[in-house]
């Protein structure tokens, strides 16, 4: 089980803001094993959002190497990135980002649709994913009919429905009250135990970070602390 799911070396990202160049990542190295749970912490402006975008294949590094589940991502074009996001990455956002008009099952089916999966299989897998987050009885509810915690559960079901190599969770408890927040964290950890899905949580909440067995601190675009 020593296999590296995430293997990034010397990641650099430079944003051009007019005349100024902003160095968001300055040669960052990070390795993550399959099945690990880790949190990425850092003050705002530290580069942790940029790192999340890189690891989630939403953006390309300016330079450096990044292998996700054995595939080299740094040189991919837009469509290849879309494809690898579809197959290898599940996202959980702070503000849930569900389609407001679509039912829970339609929301969960979305990644499978872009994977061109047939209707019947899609439905079965979406229902299974919703059951695994405890929403088997809310399949046909729209987000407006669900509580915040339930909406985040739908988002988690959507993130894991295509059995990704990593799940990226960006402040998953940020918009929830403490009770629902704890429930969501517990759910994420349980799912990691059951499926051995690699879980990367970006947060600034120390309580959330305490629940993970590895914490990576980022400052000024480099890793300043990595404790397990």
């Amino acid at each position: 089980m020593d296999e590296m799911v995430v293997d990034a070396k010397d990641l650099r990202k430079i944003y051009k803001m007019g005349e100024m160049e902003v160095h968001a990542l300055r040669g960052l190295d990070i390795q993550i094993r399959r099945g690990e749970v880790l949190s990425i912490m850092g003050p705002s402006g530290s580069g942790k959002s940029t790192l999340m975008n890189m690891l989630g294949c939403l953006d390309r590094p300016t330079s450096g190497e990044y292998h996700l589940d054995g595939e080299s991502v740094a040189e991919m074009n837009d469509d290849q990135l879309a494809d690898i996001r579809n197959r290898k990455v599940g996202f959980v956002f702070q503000s849930f980002n569900l389609l407001p008009r679509a039912t829970a099952i339609s929301n969960v089916e979305l990644p499978l649709r872009y994977a061109n999966m047939g209707g019947r299989e899609r439905r079965e897998r979406a229902i299974a994913a919703l059951e695994s987050v405890g929403l088997g009885d809310r399949v046909h509810h729209t987000p407006a009919e669900l509580s915040g915690g339930q909406q985040q559960r739908v988002a988690i079901a959507r993130a894991l429905v295509n059995t990704p190599a990593i799940i990226m969770a960006d402040e998953p408890t940020g918009n929830l009250d403490s009770t629902s927040g704890e429930e969501i964290m517990q759910l994420l950890l349980n799912l990691n135990q059951e499926n051995r899905t690699t879980l990367i949580i970006v947060t600034h909440d120390p309580e959330v970070a305490e629940l993970t067995n590895r914490v990576v601190m980022i400052r000024d675009g480099v890793v300043v602390e990595d404790r397990s």
């Binding site: 953006d59 494809d83 872009y114």
Partner: protein, 408 residues
């Protein structure tokens, strides 16, 4: 992604904003409705006109005064011209010639009064028009020579004055105050696009010239109707007539001061007019569809901005450029397709109402909606949506996922 799913999603998205969708397609609806209605009514009118032109008979030739545009002071047609055309040696293809004087007159009978078209004719009129009396007799040579005060009534005039169509021979009516003896009643012809042909009173040519329809010169006539010996000789008869008139009027080549038209010429003229109208309608259609298309583009751009986060999310979930593009193109195409469909329904309604109004006011006009105009409207409006959706869709597809997800 397959095409079925985007269609369902686009329908959901359009349905969630019904008022906006409705207002957006209004331009397309009105444009398509106008075109469908106008084409339908136009075709109905065309069919009606063609029908009545065909109704005048295949052998008929009309000769009018005035010809090529730059001819000044065209000589009027005269009885002498008509007689010359009837010469079997100069014009062997001509069977009979019927000069006419035309005008309107007030006809009265014991307090009843009606306005009818008054025509001064010769005995050949009956033969040339292939139109005979149901009772009594037609105007004869003797009536012409004597400038007799006799009249043959059309059915409508008879109905209007006497309330019956028969038993009228021997009665006396007044035309412009002068007494005329009824010698016959024409058979019923029915109405055409040029008005009812039965609302007519026929008097001897000479009587009309002398007392009713005075012209500047005594032997002048308005129209000369000629029948050719058979349908195949119509063109030849036209050539012969033209030669005779050119000689008599002493006109140069290309300076004809008269026009010779047969049924085919009328049909061609009608077709030319219809074509011009069709091109004009096409222009109107093009402009309204253009305006409608710009409306669609505008709303689609707004929609792309509103749904920036949704687009970001879809991209994060693995949507490729092409998927987003398809989604928005399907939406704009469906929008304008609906506009086209509603426009066709509305246009059909308008055309039906126009037909009803026309029928109620006595002009038979059956509007015809061709399957081709329906197909054209459908395809064209969808194409407009597709074209004007391209730019917004491309903008949506080109959004960076990171930027789009961060958009508030």
């Amino acid at each position: 992604m397959k095409i079925g799913q985007p269609i369902i999603e686009a329908l959901e998205s359009l349905a969630s904003n019904k008022l906006r969708s409705g207002l957006t397609i209004l331009g397309i609806v009105i444009g398509v409705a106008a075109v469908i209605a106008m084409l339908a009514v136009g075709r109905g009118a065309e069919a009606e006109i063609t029908g009545s032109i065909e109704g005048i008979g295949t052998n008929l030739i009309f000769v009018f005064r005035g010809g090529d545009e730059d001819v000044r002071n065209p000589k009027p047609l005269t009885l002498g011209d008509a007689e010359a055309m009837a010469d079997p040696f100069a014009a062997p293809s001509v069977a009979a010639v019927a000069p006419m004087l035309q005008g309107n007159a007030e006809i009265t009978f014991s307090g009843e009064s009606t306005s009818a078209s008054l025509v001064g004719v010769t005995p050949d009129y009956s033969y040339v028009r292939n139109w005979t009396v149901t009772e009594g007799s037609f105007i004869e040579e003797g009536h012409l020579l004597g400038r007799s005060s006799v009249v043959v009534l059309g059915v409508d005039v008879a109905e209007e004055l006497f309330g019956r169509k028969s038993g009228l021979v021997g009665e006396t009516v007044r035309i412009e105050g002068q007494p005329f003896r009824v010698i016959g009643v024409m058979e019923e012809k029915g109405g055409g696009s040029f008005g009812s042909e039965d609302n007519v009173a026929l008097v001897p040519m000479t009587t009309a010239q002398a007392r009713l329809l005075r012209r500047s010169t005594a032997d002048r006539v308005d129209i000369i109707m000629v029948s050719a010996i058979d349908a195949d000789s119509v063109d030849q008869a036209g050539i012969e007539i033209s030669d005779i008139l050119r000689a008599r009027h002493r006109t140069a080549i290309g300076q004809d001061d008269f026009s010779v038209m047969n049924q085919k010429d009328f049909l061609e003229t009608a077709a030319t007019i219809t074509n011009v109208i069709t091109i004009f309608l096409g222009g109107v259609a093009g402009i309204s569809l253009l305006v409608g298309g710009i409306g669609i583009m505008n709303i689609m751009l707004v929609s792309v901005i509103e749904r920036t986060r949704e687009i970001g999310l879809r991209k994060a979930m693995g949507a490729r450029k092409r998927d987003i593009m398809t989604q928005f193109l399907v939406e704009s195409s469906l929008l304008s397709l609906f506009g086209g469909i509603f426009g066709i329904i509305l246009g059909w309604g308008i055309a039906t109402i126009v037909s009803k109004i026309a029928a109620a006011s006595g002009t038979p006009l059956t509007s015809q909606i061709g399957i081709d105009s329906v197909l054209l409207a459908t395809i064209f409006s969808t194409a407009v949506g597709l074209f004007f959706g391209l730019y917004p869709a491309n903008r949506a597809a080109s959004l960076e996922p990171v930027e789009a997800l961060r958009y508030e």
